[in-house]
Symmetry: C3
Subunit: 206 residues, 3 copies
């Protein structure tokens, strides 16, 4: 561009115009307001070019702002077991189904299967709480696909009608990873709409 | 554009100016660099209009950026009961007052009433923990206005001096919804500055 | 700028040009398209100045967008004690070392010392859970530097093989503040890769 402008200068015989210095053109020709329409027009061309480039940048900025505003994918759930009594003891590893949904923004938790499926890759927070009577052991495990992550257990006791437990974890998931609570064999918990819960949230999308 | 300017150099004739086609003007006025001031002025008008429209877009962008930067309303609290002993048993449903404030960004939790009032609509996270001696039952309920959401209970037992419990939930609130902990009749907990707590945070503003 | 344009009007004797009203110049001189090159050139100067100022604003906006996009510092950790058995009883206040790291985005948690060091000032969320056998008391305290924040205790009992406990808090930290779990003298917990955990996250950078 500066080479081109230099060419302009040679041809139209005006004052040297340096790159981007359109204002110089307008201040140096003081002896007459008339001449050098040519110079003016060339400088006008430079300005048009700049305006066009600013237009491009404006569009890019407008796009980025749209992305920033839409960026926060929201995935949040809380559910309780529902029912009103003992869940288990079970014979085998059993996925806990929390069928009383309190919140399920993003619809990633399935109240029929008890499984949370990560809609996007990211860091998630999960927490669970339970109550269990003393007649049996309790052993609840937070699972990521086939892998145990954190757990809470409680021993059998004839002397304590109930015990509480829970745990929490921040866990990195890939899109489509499954997280759910597993009740271990020969263990039980007690549940209703409020006491034994499972919750999770997307903390950071990655 | 450098090609266009080169054309300028070689040629200098005039021609029809189409809307927005300011560069055409500058290439086609061949016989002299002087004439068609008229055309130049009209094209100049188009450019002025464009500049004005870009000004409007710049202002809109600057406003949106301000909003994006200010967007994160922060509402976060943690409090403990304070005191140093049994709270309850109570005769009636009683709002727990957590008067030792650890954090209260946004000032939405009231340490005199024990009530959290949502300053904006959104998804919030609440959690509570308590310890209680075995001489009485415990029954703590997290309330949203008049509605029980999650709870934690513990049975009476002569054999366990203390039991712990808690729960957590992600809950969608409207502006001005009230969330608080309710201690049920004939139940108690134990509290001081650290053991029996109530916390909450705005996760997503809606 | 408006002064300069006004001066244009007086000196060159053209139609009155009001602030920003470059288009007036171009529409009022209808009888001839030739004259007042002078006016045109001065108004052109004003437009150049405006373009330059818009360029400055565009750059500022582009910087702010870069900051907004990079803004979310991520600090998230979860860890379990590891091992497979009793931890304690200890003779003195002892920092719990959670050496099985589940997540440690931002690398602020040190699995060798058990200490989380805040990389930036802000509001953080911490939570911990544990299980402990009844043969000894349990007393776990979440510490901020030398200050106890929240805690969970459990009494000794011969009648309950295990008890669970935990707590959580939202805490404002300055950059370099240290947060860790302290096991009090003569108390114990039980730990492995899943049961006794410590987690934390940066909620809001301040």
């Amino acid at each position: 561009m500066s080479f081109t402008v230099l060419m302009l200068v040679i041809i139209c015989g005006s004052v040297l115009v340096q790159h981007g210095d359109t204002e110089t053109v307008l201040t140096t020709e003081t002896e007459s307001c008339m001449p050098n329409m040519c110079t003016l027009r060339k400088v006008f061309g430079a300005m048009t070019e700049k305006q066009s480039s600013m237009e491009t940048r404006l569009k890019a900025i407008e796009n980025q702002i749209t992305q920033l505003k839409n960026k926060a994918v929201k995935v949040v759930f809380s559910a309780a077991t529902g029912g009103n009594g003992h869940i288990g003891p079970v014979n085998t590893h059993t996925t806990m189904v929390y069928r009383t949904v309190i919140t399920n923004v993003g619809n990633a938790y399935n109240r029929f299967t008890g499984i949370f499926v990560a809609p996007v890759s990211g860091i998630y927070y999960f927490t669970f709480f339970y109550i269990a009577g003393g007649a049996n052991r309790s052993s609840l495990v937070l699972m990521k696909n086939n892998q145990a992550v954190v757990a809470s257990i409680d021993h059998q006791t004839s002397h304590d009608e109930a015990d509480n437990g829970g745990n929490a974890v921040f866990l990195q998931l890939q899109k489509r990873d499954q997280v759910y609570m597993r009740l271990n064999p020969n263990t039980h918990v007690f549940g209703n709409d409020r006491l034994t819960t499972f919750s999770g949230v997307l903390v950071h999308q990655l």
